[in-house]
Symmetry: C2
Subunit: 370 residues, 2 copies
């Protein structure tokens, strides 16, 4: 599988007149090799090049990870003393050849740490944004990958359902978030959650990236819960908005609008449709109702091995959706100082249209227990 | 507090002939401003410069975070469409001035994403490794910071104690790790653990960075548990090694050696002592006993807002320890294909010597329950 993925990306890169890929620790190394490395103070760099074995530079204490690989991988290891790293990078770069090389890289991933070591070791290495090329492979999920995502969604849904059993008026956002995290692990999430759950009640909900606070759920609040699980390296990312006790008619109204916008976005999504058309579909529901200014972010983002990846669903993205792409549809309305609503599902593009991986009710359910 | 920290770092930078700091999302932004940003596809950049307000570039949907700051902060926000980001970076860089600027940055943190935007927007910005300057501030913990670390250690210790109650022979590494994660949250850890716990039994323990597997704890194993909690943004990182049932005399012997090495390292640590002297203290115990080749990594790493930070405790680091520095002491012996032992404590340098923040027994305790 990994050799196939490497061969495919090299073909894509060839059409861009690129010689190969240079990757540092992160999801793409895992995608192309099955190896996991955390982004740490010790750099890990993988080269994928035509006509030669892939090559990795890594800390000595990580070399056990290279046992039992299903493909040939050249490796160069370095010890703990950073003063000795440049020499190891030199030897590795000598192995790949000192000719001029145009290499695809990931601007969101590659750090100056690796870049400085690489450019010092190989003077004619040039770096070209490889995000689109990598996305051509990674954004199209095969059935094994989408099955893992479905499982990540299912774990998240079960965990929320259980966490809601203990939700009550007067509970703090933090307490509810902690219970949700415990339930995510009880239901089998990998240990690295895609992100820490958001529980944002009342005015905190007006901040799309709020952190759970000591604020207690109060009668009349809306409460946004944005959470996800990881299963075998694949993420889910969902949001539902609940009422606490009984809420004002305006809040019921904006909840209903966001539900419609979410449905419109999912309905629009399909093969051959652009990302911007999906964004337009959710946004026009909210704009038509007069709340356009209160929908302050894009409609969604791709999801897979990373919680945020290609394709990004925003108004300026003319990229065309293809079967196997997976992304979130998450419109919201944020009323500053008052409340917020967001409803988010994970969607996969099929041959015919799209399918939501998530099925949890999108109705305005009320947390009534005291 | 944040203004004081900014003033202090600017003084340090002045001695290095630097004009200021340029930081992207990560712990240092939090340290100098109190603001939290995740490292994501949307870049966040903070400038700290003499004689002007600090300035931040961030996504529009994050700007709510800037309310209620205790200091003046200029801000430039950008929308979701990446094509519009360069113009915002241009305006921000115009504000800081187009004169030649030598800026400290973090090679382990700054990505090509931010670097490309910054260098396109400000042609005479030069980037100088600022890690040491930042470490002068961040590595010396004040009493509020060390109190948070003590709490992070205490949560971790309590969580392991409870997880061990359900540990038994035949349980898989993954099951024990999952139980430990749940206990970490039950005991109040922040939602972002410093790292996913390692539970590595038998031969898996010979890989210092093993991931928990389906392997079941078996009579005669050693099992390494390496785990930590986060409390108000500060990390703990501990390791203990247990016996499963009864183990071979050689394993008891290496456990005893690593315990001695750990004690020797903690005993050596103190103000005025070099990092390499601490490394030598642990290493010589293990080398003298003939296991030098089996201690494959440095003695430890600094810990605080990041789980790995300055100072790094390795044989080539002549840096001098000062009161308030916090780091791990974690010698190990790894017998390839057989077993591994590691014992790790978090230590703070005091005026007189050093103090271990962790007090959990380092004896070879046996998991006997079936």
């Amino acid at each position: 599988m990994y050799t196939r993925r490497q061969t495919k990306i090299l073909k894509t890169l060839e059409t861009m007149n690129l010689d190969g890929l240079v990757l540092n620790a992160g999801a793409s190394i895992t995608y192309f090799t099955g190896l996991h490395f955390h982004l740490m103070e010790r750099p890990v760099v993988l080269f994928v090049l035509r006509g030669q074995n892939p090559l990795i530079i890594l800390p000595e204490l990580e070399k056990e990870k290279l046992n039992h690989l299903s493909f040939e991988l050249d490796s160069f290891t370095y010890p703990d003393n950073p003063a000795l790293w440049p020499e190891v990078f030199n030897r590795a770069c000598h192995r790949i050849g000192t000719r001029r090389l145009r290499m695809g890289y990931e601007p969101k991933q590659l750090r100056l740490l690796e870049y400085n070591l690489l450019t010092a070791a190989h003077r004619t290495l040039s770096f070209v944004d490889g995000d689109q090329a990598i996305a051509c492979s990674r954004s199209i999920k095969d059935s094994k990958e989408s099955d893992k995502m479905k499982k990540a969604v299912s774990i998240a849904q079960d965990a929320l359902t259980m966490a809601l059993v203990s939700a009550k008026i007067g509970m703090s956002e933090k307490e509810l978030a902690a219970e949700l995290v415990i339930q995510l692990f009880r239901h089998g999430s990998d240990q690295n959650l895609p992100f820490s759950p958001i529980v944002a009640s009342g005015p905190n909900g007006a901040n799309p990236h709020a952190k759970p606070s000591e604020r207690k759920l109060a009668d009349g609040d809306l409460v946004i819960i944005d959470w996800g699980a990881t299963w075998q390296g694949y993420a889910s990312d969902l949001t539902r908005t609940f009422a606490v006790g009984s809420v004002a008619p305006e809040y019921e109204h904006i909840h209903s609008l966001v539900t419609q916008a979410n449905r419109a976005g999912r309905g629009k999504a399909g093969p051959g449709i652009t990302c911007q058309a999906v964004d337009l579909a959710t946004r026009s529901v909210i704009e038509t109702a007069g709340y356009g200014e209160c929908f302050t972010h894009r409609t969604g983002h791709g999801i897979g091995m990373e919680c945020h990846e290609e394709p990004y669903i925003h108004a300026a993205n003319a990229q065309i959706l293809r079967p196997g792409m997976t992304f979130t549809v998450e419109p919201g309305i944020y009323l500053k100082g008052k409340n917020g609503v967001r409803i988010e599902d994970d969607v996969i593009i099929t041959e015919q249209g799209s399918e939501s991986l998530s099925s949890l009710s999108r109705e305005l359910i009320s947390i009534d227990k005291k």
